[in-house]
Amino acid sequence: MLDHATNTQTADTTEQPQAAPLIMACGLTKSYDRRNMVLDGIDLRIWAGERVALIGSNGCGKSTLLKSLIGLHPISGGTLECFGNPVGAQSSRAQRLQMRRQTGFVFQKHCLVRRRTVLSNVIHGLYGDRGSWRAFSHSLAPEEWRARGLQALDEVDLADKAMRRADALSGGQQQRVAIARALVRRPQLLIADEPAASLDPVSGRNVMNLFSQLCRAHGITLLYTSHDMDHAIDYADRVIALKCGKVLFDRPAEKVTPADLKVTFDG
């Protein structure tokens, strides 16, 4: 929930659960060159089970924020906690790995290993577990991992393509494989960076439907970025807008107005 005071519009504070937030950022800053702040004092809280859309124009810091949340991009200042553990310089490697294991990440460009089979790519989602070198290929993976991989593929309706090479699938299918890879470990949190951006409108909507259904079915918290306002409003409980590295507004999806969007995307 929004604690940010400056440069923001009013935050419609819907009632939030009393439990500790899954993600909590206070005054989060990030800069790559010490001059330009990509993230400039972000305050946000995300609770378990929420579906949150992060919107904003290109370069406003959405992707950087997502990657900072799981420690892929080290933060420059402020505090960040994920699953109750600090993220950043003060977190240990074990904490970082543990946190990543509880998180699924879906990238805009699928990020599959092109030359491997679809099933092997999904089993890659189990890297980081004990004996995870066996996740290298479905041929070496334990039977239980193969079964989990196939089940995850079944959930995205691609079980019949398990032995195809990843680069033999269409863009929409590859994105569904990426979702299966993110879900195979049954994460508590699923982060998606513009998951539908590289897809045609129909495939994009299918992917967003799939996200929404699976996260609801498995009680997974969903945090995603989108340029498509329909995707942001239709599939999220809450919309957080970023502008120039700051939170512009944070409110329930049904209360986001066209005027909000205009302010968000107007230069």
Binding site: T103, L112, R114, G125, G128, F136
Partner: protein, 266 residues
């Protein structure tokens, strides 16, 4: 509307004074070098009769069955030196290249040390390595194999490292986001992505190893080169021509095979 004039761009841009001086200096170095080490027409003309006489003494190549059997054994040994040396070299190159590859190396900036090591192995010529191994291990095929191992690491270590540096970054980031360690990222994302490049470089290394292994015998490191040296030392030019012919066939066959394999991979 005001009329606009369009200027045709110059075909050649001017040369800066610094570049002009460098070009003149380079031309001077090339001309001086040619005067010192390039053959003069007179020298070439004088050499033709000797070369003709030598070729005459080499023909016809020796086809004596006993000699051919001995050559066949030596060729087999040469091929074994090349195959085993290249294989061991390729396997050892993988971890060394991983250590040397920028942004992938588990050593961080220490990758420069691994890179320098690979450069050192590549800088020293294979015949010098062969001399070192003959001096330390002794005459024979093992010294030749060790030479090929070192030579292959110098060659593959560089190309494998470059391939790892150029591997697609997105799958690596995806596995890192899941919690995969550096080793898992190497095995899970980098190696599958660069596999065609690895196989390609390995085939070139094998080809190179076969070519190298035929001359290693000249310094006593086993293989067909040893027979060639003996043939020249004892003025057995018909034997020498048969050996040269055999080497040509072997290297040519090797190149045809590796070309076909490369074409299939691509």
């Amino acid at each position: 509307m005001a009329e606009r004039t369009i200027h045709m761009p110059k075909r050649f841009t001017g040369v800066s004074p610094l570049n002009f001086v460098l070009l003149v200096a380079l031309g001077g170095v090339i001309l001086t070098s040619m005067g010192k080490v390039a053959p003069s027409p007179q020298q070439l003309a004088d050499g033709v009769p000797d070369m003709t006489r030598l070729v005459g003494r080499m023909l016809p190549p020796n086809t004596d069955p006993d000699f051919l059997a001995r050559i066949a054994r030596r060729i087999l040994e040469t091929f074994q030196i090349a195959l085993v040396g290249a294989l061991i070299g390729i396997v050892l190159s993988l971890p060394i290249a991983w250590f040397a590859a920028r942004s992938v190396s588990p050593l961080g900036r220490g990758n420069l040390l691994a890179k320098a090591f690979v450069s050192f192995l590549r800088t020293v010529p294979d015949l010098v390595w062969a001399l070192l191994f003959v001096a330390s291990i002794g005459l024979g095929a093992v010294a030749g194999t060790m030479t090929i191992v070192v030579d292959t690491i110098g060659f593959c270590g560089r190309f494998f490292a470059e391939a790892m540096e150029d591997a697609e970054k997105e799958p690596q980031e995806a596995l890192s986001a899941i919690g995969a360690g550096r080793g898992s990222i190497l095995v899970g994302a980098i190696l599958p992505d660069i596999m065609p490049s690895l196989v390609n470089s390995s085939l070139f290394a094998l080809e190179k190893a076969v070519r190298s292994s035929v001359v290693l015998g000249l310094v006593g490191a086993g293989g067909i080169g040893q027979e060639l040296k003996v043939a020249f030392d004892l003025f057995q030019y018909r034997n020498a021509s048969m050996i040269i012919l055999t080497i040509f066939v072997i290297v040519f066959l090797m190149e045809v095979c590796t070309d076909k394999l490369r074409a299939r991979i691509q």
